[in-house]
């Protein structure tokens, strides 16, 4: 028997921990299809009430920035402090800014 394609594809899992918050990357897992990926994610990542909503996307659909280009990509923003909204006083009730 051939061994090719015996591994299920990898999926990235995003969990929304409560209403109003964004989905956050929780990890990855293997599953045969999207439905199974959502159910596996439910079992692997939300057993301790971590979530109220799950997104999954096949890992090979994720395109990432190149770590080697990180300096050129991100460093120039460092000395442009005028772009940051750090001069406002936020009320204490505003939690997730």
């Amino acid at each position: 028997m051939s061994n090719e394609n015996k591994e299920w594809p990898l999926w990235e899992v995003f969990i929304r921990s409560k209403a109003g918050l964004d989905h956050k990357h929780a990890g990855s897992l293997h599953a045969a299809d999207a439905q199974m990926a959502i159910e596996n994610a439910r079992d692997v990542y939300t057993r301790r009430m971590e979530g109220i909503s799950i997104w999954v996307v096949e890992s090979n659909h994720i395109h990432a920035s190149n770590p080697e280009e990180a300096a050129a990509f991100f460093d120039p923003a460092q000395d442009k402090i005028y772009r940051h909204p750090t001069f406002y006083n936020l009320p204490d009730e505003l939690k997730h800014m």
């Binding site: 299920w8 897992l29 293997h30 599953a31 045969a32 439905q35 199974m36 159910e39 596996n40 439910r42 079992d43 692997v44 057993r47």
Partner: protein, 274 residues
């Protein structure tokens, strides 16, 4: 309404989920893939949790019974002695100190795991029954049983989903997976008849309005099973003869081996905690 009826009925419900949960727990660390290993263990823990609620309720009933009523509840000498000596009985006593002939679980749940298809088939047949049972049990006049049924139903809905999707996945998969799934359905089907054959405890519980008329669930069960089997492109299994006995304490050889392993620690080191 006699508390003996409630006790025996509760124990029968508890035994089914304990034995099923223990069977699935044996997959822990051995699943074909990590994620499914966790899924099965999760389902197992749901079932053992349901068993705990039910055994706790059963223990409460025993502890509140007058001594004369509970002098001959169980065949297992260890447990019966404890009761006769006026010890407070716990959920663990009921799970670990009864012998096979005191268990009233159906034969289906004690059957061996076999391969993945056999495990799926057993869960597929059992979970669908539990769904119908707990749906009806929510209307029990016994408020504790009704509450446990309502809470468990949410868990069972997921168990059904898990098992049904695997039946479809394997049935609609490769030639080998289809053949194995068909074989497993056929092999386990003969244990489904017992689910709907009312035993004396169920009769009494139904008449007292605390239990479910399981015989009335059979038609819906058959239809719902058939719908999934058709969707999977499989043939509905048939059986010329349905096995019975578990619900009356007459078990297949498999239960004894399983209990020996499950109960070993409490038998060898009584009251051991860890």
């Amino acid at each position: 309404m006699s508390s003996i009826t409630t006790l025996k009925y509760t124990l029968q419900l508890a035994d089914n989920v304990l034995i099923m949960g223990q069977r699935l727990a044996a997959w822990c660390g051995k699943g074909p893939i990590l994620e499914q290993d966790i899924a099965l263990t999760n389902i197992s823990l749901d079932q053992i949790g349901q068993a705990r609620s039910l055994y706790q309720y059963a223990a409460l009933i025993i502890n509140n019974m007058p001594a004369a009523d509970k002098a001959h509840l169980f065949n297992a000498p260890l447990l019966q002695e404890k009761i006769n000596n006026q010890h407070t009985i716990t959920e663990d006593d009921l799970a670990y100190l009864r012998d096979a002939w005191d268990f009233r679980n159906c034969l289906l749940v004690e059957q061996e795991n076999g391969d993945w298809a056999y495990t799926v088939a057993r869960s597929f047949f059992f979970d669908r029954f539990q769904y119908l049972l707990f749906t009806a049990l929510q209307k029990s006049t016994d408020s504790t049983l009704a509450a446990i049924a309502e809470k468990s139903l949410k868990e069972v809905q997921y168990h059904i989903k898990w098992a049904s999707e695997w039946v479809i996945r394997l049935g609609d998969g490769t030639d080998i997976s289809k053949e194995k799934m068909q074989q497993a359905l056929q092999a386990r089907w003969e244990y489904t008849g017992e689910l709907f054959a009312m035993n004396a405890i169920e009769q009494a519980a139904m008449q007292a309005n605390i239990g479910v008329d399981v015989s009335s669930l059979q038609q819906a069960y058959q239809q719902q099973i058939e719908a999934i089997v058709n969707e999977a492109g499989l043939q509905m299994p048939t059986a010329a003869w349905m096995q019975t006995g578990g619900k009356n304490g007459v078990h297949t050889e498999h239960l004894g081996y399983m209990l020996a392993e499950m109960q070993y620690l409490q038998r060898a080191y009584p009251n051991m905690e860890w």
